[in-house]
């Protein structure tokens, strides 16, 4: 061995010290084996959360469906949980949820998409770097703040223009929810559009088309799956949104299409019933979970749909 030459002029031999340290490495061995197990246990908390949600919703909803036939629940147009002869039809809630979500997407869809087009196709790098984070501030505002805004500002304005509108109505929270989900559509659609490679754009522009024509004939078709996915996710977000509708749309359980009236969404119903004094074990209490299970199923389906769309129809560049 020649290795002594690098050690002899030195009092300490590092390699020998390392060799000695190896003897007492059992602690490290323990670490190497136990840490992955510990981390796996932490990771499984996310699985337990899902199991917890499913178990909670299903086990309690079953009690509800033992008292209220499932068909009556999904086809009933009357929701009168507190009357002498309680009715538990979910259609008024589904109706409120869908109408508010449709209003929201009617606002956020065009505006979000046009913002995305501007940011991805027209804005200079500098402008985009300022506008995009500012737009995302909208997404960071807590929904309770939007609720306050809808109730104390938007509703009075609407009522000034259109006096028949009630103090609590579905229109105002729908519009505000639309503003809330603009950044979601803008940001996700912009991602989809800017991931369309430039050579495709250049190919079209070189033919003498304008930016607008290139955007609508080439870029948007190529990014369509991402754009659709952003719409689906935004709708899912609107369906699950709670505070804006709870505050601004009130708790009337009318089955109506009149936008000037108060309607209750599934989420607002959950807030109302869980905040009230529903006795444990009552049908009213269990109805909470049946509605929540329906809500959960809706948003899950929308989210899976968004994922499916963006995967299945992804353009190969």
């Amino acid at each position: 061995m020649t290795s002594h030459s690098k050690k002899e002029n030195n009092a300490v031999s590092v390699s020998e010290m390392i060799a000695q340290n190896k003897q007492k490495k059992s602690f490290h061995n323990f670490n190497e084996k136990s840490i992955p197990v510990f981390l796996f246990l932490l990771a499984s908390i996310t699985i337990l959360t899902t199991i917890g949600i499913l178990y909670t919703l299903i086990s309690e909803a079953i009690h509800f469906f033992m008292e209220v036939p499932i068909l009556d629940f999904f086809t009933g147009t009357e929701l009168k949980p507190l009357s002498q002869d309680p009715q538990f039809g979910i259609l008024p809630l589904l109706n409120g949820t869908l109408i508010s979500s449709i209003i929201a997407i009617l606002v956020a869809g065009p505006i979000g998409l046009m913002s995305a087009i501007y940011l991805s196709e027209y804005a200079s790098d500098k402008v985009r770097r300022v506008l995009k984070p500012l737009l995302e501030v909208l997404a960071g505002i807590p929904t309770i703040v939007y609720g306050f805004f809808a109730f104390t500002f938007v509703t009075p304005i609407i009522r000034a223009i259109w006096p028949q509108v009630e103090a609590t109505n579905i229109l105002s929270p729908g519009l505000v929810m639309g503003v809330m989900i603009i950044p979601m559509i803008a940001s996700l659609s912009e991602d989809a559009m800017s991931s369309v490679p430039n050579r495709i754009r250049e190919g079209s522009l070189a033919m003498g088309t304008t930016r607008l024509e290139t955007t609508f004939k080439v870029v948007i078709p190529a990014a369509l799956s991402g754009i659709i996915a952003s719409f689906v996710l935004a709708i899912s977000r609107a369906i699950g949104e709670t505070m804006i509708v709870t505050i601004a749309s009130g708790s009337s359980k009318n089955f109506t299409f009149d936008l000037t009236q108060s309607m209750q969404t599934m989420t607002a119903y959950i807030v109302e019933v869980s905040g009230g004094e529903a006795p444990a074990g009552s049908t009213l209490h269990y109805s909470l979970y049946a509605v929540a299970l329906t809500l959960f199923a809706f948003t899950l389906i929308m989210n899976l749909l968004a994922k499916y769309v963006s995967r299945k129809f992804r353009e190969e560049y």
Partner: protein
Amino acid sequence: MSTLTEKGIKIDLQTSQDDKEALSQIKEKSVIYDTKNLDLWYGNSHALKNINLEILENEVTAIIGPSGCGKSTYIKTLNRMVELVPGVSTSGSISYKNKNILDKSIKVEDLRTQVGMVFQKPNPFPKSIYENIVYGPRIHGIKKKAILDEIVEKSLRGAAIWDEVKDRLHQNAYGLSGGQQQRICIARCLAVEPDVILMDEPTSALDPISTLKIEELMKELKKQYTIIIVTHNMQQAARISDKTVFMLNGEVVEFSETDQLFSNPSDKRTEDYITGRFG
């Protein structure tokens, strides 16, 4: 081992200007890496085919060949870094100091402590120069500051970069030039006093002047360490190595004294490669 005398005589002839050193080399040189019938697959692709090589201690062995010939794969097999790629499988054996390192009972951490590696792109940690050097000693349980200080100076001197960085040991290593970073990586390697240093195209990302400095350093290092270097640069192999391996399509085509391989290759394919007909 049987060829030792033969090879020893050749070395003796080459380095006759310093008889003493040559003599000591004859006495002590022994096989450090003995590869036998090594095959390696990435999934289904056969990357190394029946490799047989004996690499001697305290020599510089260069491995050359066109890209994709398996030279990097082979050098990474010598410290089992190749296992970081999923789906790798091997057969055959590599004896390092008479132990088969492909055996699953071998702890890769021990192997890699004895066999250092310098990578293609300088890869210091995003920490201070000092922290980079003491990383190895620390993970192997050396904690005393006085000893660590000593290791830092010795390793940086060993990598011929002490004078350049001694005043800024606590600054981020990424403030250095590429060539300096690579010497920091070499110093980091020396800090645990390995027996072998594997170098995987260590100068391919560097400018010519930095390359020259690293080559000079290698000549210095070979007095104390066994060096195995993969290079795509034939002139570099000719300048610094004692032996050269030429690989092609996962096979060893030729393995001989560097002078002989470059002046009088025995295989037509070697000749084609070194005369620039392909690669």
